[in-house]
Symmetry: C2
Subunit: 401 residues, 2 copies
């Protein structure tokens, strides 16, 4: 057995991890309706004006603004309605002084008209429209290209898409968009004891958990998780699994990185690539390996479900978001007093799960082998390596899952 001789401080480990991550260059064209949360790969430049014509911004009457000057409720100005124009139509005619055209919001302005009087400010009898309030030129008119002009960048490379940005792209007539590919993340659960859910367990076996937690968190943070088959504990099987995994952008093993004689991932990494570190001053999650093979980043996560997933939060998420070109993760947080004292004398940076109960943060951590340490928690607090005790009543910042 090979004990971990020396652990790296979390911040130092994080630096090594981030240095190994390079923003993805691969792009793909996808449907706008699937583009929420994706990162724009190239500026989208408008090829049409939005709107493509001057249009009414209110329901009312298209007028010559000067005809309304001096109008008031006491002494309205009267103009003659000569036509009407609905949205989706082109006006059949223009207007001159003393005339107006009834117009619906969004309809193209008739020539000669330079403002719209709101219907609420008018009173109509036959074709006589009495205007109670003056309008200035261009009032209640949406100018051609006021929203987006031809040649203007609607979204820029690096923008993360959201509802309104997707709307802006649709406004220019596009149905698809070039975005950066989601980094593909090969997920490999290793261990002779690991069995696929959905089948009965043999003696000594347990169900795979890490594949499911990792796939879910990877998807949340801009990656495309690809679960590869469970790999048994042999150098040959691991090495073959690695060959299949190397087509992906990021490779995440779980299991096999502890200090047992079967530290096979470490062996494979040493033989085929570079080990950047083995062992972090992090709790849980100490027996973590990180390296590169053929330029591909390889994470060797602990097999324990809570250690594996907390390491995903602490190491993989920042890395993955960098590669995916997403901004740093900003979790939702809650500040709450801790219900009881937490002692953390290990000298390791601690990921500590809590439950929110009546506005208090109640420790929820059981053991790093227990997925319920996290599944029954609402979030986690971080306790720096140099902090030994967090007293009951301390206001802690809970990062919500």
């Amino acid at each position: 057995m090979r004990p971990i001789a020396q652990t790296l401080l979390y911040d130092d480990a994080m630096r090594l991890v981030m240095d190994a991550g390079h923003p993805i260059d691969r792009a793909e064209r996808i449907a706008l309706t699937d583009a929420d949360g994706r990162v724009v790969a190239a500026d989208v430049t408008a090829t049409v004006d939005v709107p493509p014509f001057d249009r009414a911004a209110m329901d009312g009457y298209a007028v010559v603004a000067a005809d309304t000057f001096g109008a008031s409720t006491q002494s309205p100005k009267t103009v003659v309605c000569v036509d009407r124009v609905f949205t989706g139509q082109m006006p059949a005619r223009g207007i001159g002084a003393g005339e107006c055209i009834e117009i619906a919001t969004g309809a193209p302005m008739p020539s000669g008209a330079d403002a719209v009087v709101m219907v609420e400010e008018t009173d109509r009898a036959g074709d006589q429209v009495r205007v109670m309030t003056p309008v200035y030129p261009q009032q209640h008119v949406g100018r051609r290209a006021a929203d987006i002009a031809i040649g203007q960048a609607v979204v820029k490379a690096g923008h993360v898409l959201n509802p309104s940005r997707i709307g802006a792209i649709a406004a220019t007539g596009s149905l698809d968009i070039n975005v950066y590919a989601r980094p593909s993340v090969a997920i490999l659960s290793t261990g002779n004891e690991i069995a696929e859910p959905g089948q009965p367990l043999a003696p000594g076996q347990i169900y795979d958990i890490n594949r499911f937690t990792l796939e879910t968190i990877v998807r949340r943070h801009g990656g495309a998780g690809v679960a590869l088959p469970i790999t048994a504990d042999s150098v040959e099987e691991l090495s073959a699994a690695l060959d299949a995994a190397l087509v992906h952008d990021i490779i995440v093993f779980s299991g096999g990185s502890s200090v047992g004689e079967r530290d096979l991932i470490l062996d494979v990494l040493h033989r085929r690539g570079t080990v950047h570190f083995h062992g972090i001053a992090l709790k849980p999650g100490k027996p973590t390996v990180f390296g590169t093979i053929e330029g591909k980043p390889i994470f060797g996560m602990p097999g324990y479900p809570t250690s594996c997933l907390s390491n995903a939060y602490m190491l993989l998420v920042p890395f993955l978001r960098k590669v995916a070109r997403l901004p740093s993760w900003r979790p939702l947080t809650v500040e709450a007093p801790l219900t009881r004292r937490v002692v953390s004398t290990t000298g390791r940076h601690q990921f500590y799960t809590v439950r929110l109960v009546d506005g208090n943060a109640e420790p929820a951590f059981k053991a790093s082998g227990d997925i319920t340490s996290m599944a029954n928690a609402d979030g986690y607090i971080e306790i720096p390596a140099q902090t030994d005790v967090v007293e009951a009543g301390t206001i802690v910042i809970v990062k919500l899952f």
Copy 2:
């Protein structure tokens, strides 16, 4: 034309909207790998213990704890290693006093052993293992069912799934899960002027935006948006579109709810169902209709893209999340000083978009017809109806898109 006679206060409108929303009862069974963010429809009860056996929590030696009492570096206790057991194996034999079995993390405990000595605390020569530190009974042992016991609820109805909860379900051997269905939301853009992106525009036409913004926001908040074909401005077409839409849980029209003579959605609602309100003291988004037909909630959003989408944030999202059984939306927020004075004298609750520039909140609002009012913003502030002015320098809470 029918002006909006009276607008409802935003809070009052919101109350009417929320009262019309009923948490969905329909459930469906889906793959665990697609279940992130979904709402559990029935308690999941474990049918296996996790772990299914007592197991080593550390790499080391399974021992009789009493054999180690009094051990120290100066005077180690020596036990004889009689076998080894790897993970995924059952122990071939048990141990008695004075014996130990080399054991890997996760491997089943041999009978007779009641603790594990960590490898770091030992020194081995041949089959002689010198133990430097005593262990107490059950130390470094993961007890059978310590994580999850048969009969225990792994997740409960109403829980929102996340990575660790999905992991906990996998731990019990399930590959799928009963969740509440996503409310299906029919999205109908109406208006003679509205054209589908991807095709050239005819004169007087503009591209549909609302279908894309609504579909995206609906998906973000637990719904399944279903875009129906663009509907022209006639009672017959709208009524036919409504018939097709009524198979869905929620119906959202955009366009056609302003005060023009073509207030057809209002007509259809009056004729076939109940109008709960028409007109809200909200800016943008005043000409909004809400009603029910055959028990189905119908939103008539303004056609203007920013009004439509801001109304989706202000009215549809809280409603949809209630129906989807999701907790209230907690947007990410940033507090920042406003770069310039914003005047809001309309007596309406205002949704006002801002850009974050160097830590300041810079007004980004152009016009409610302009999607770039939102697409070029980072989020929005809310200005209550009774607030007339927000001075430059005021710290505002920006809700991020």
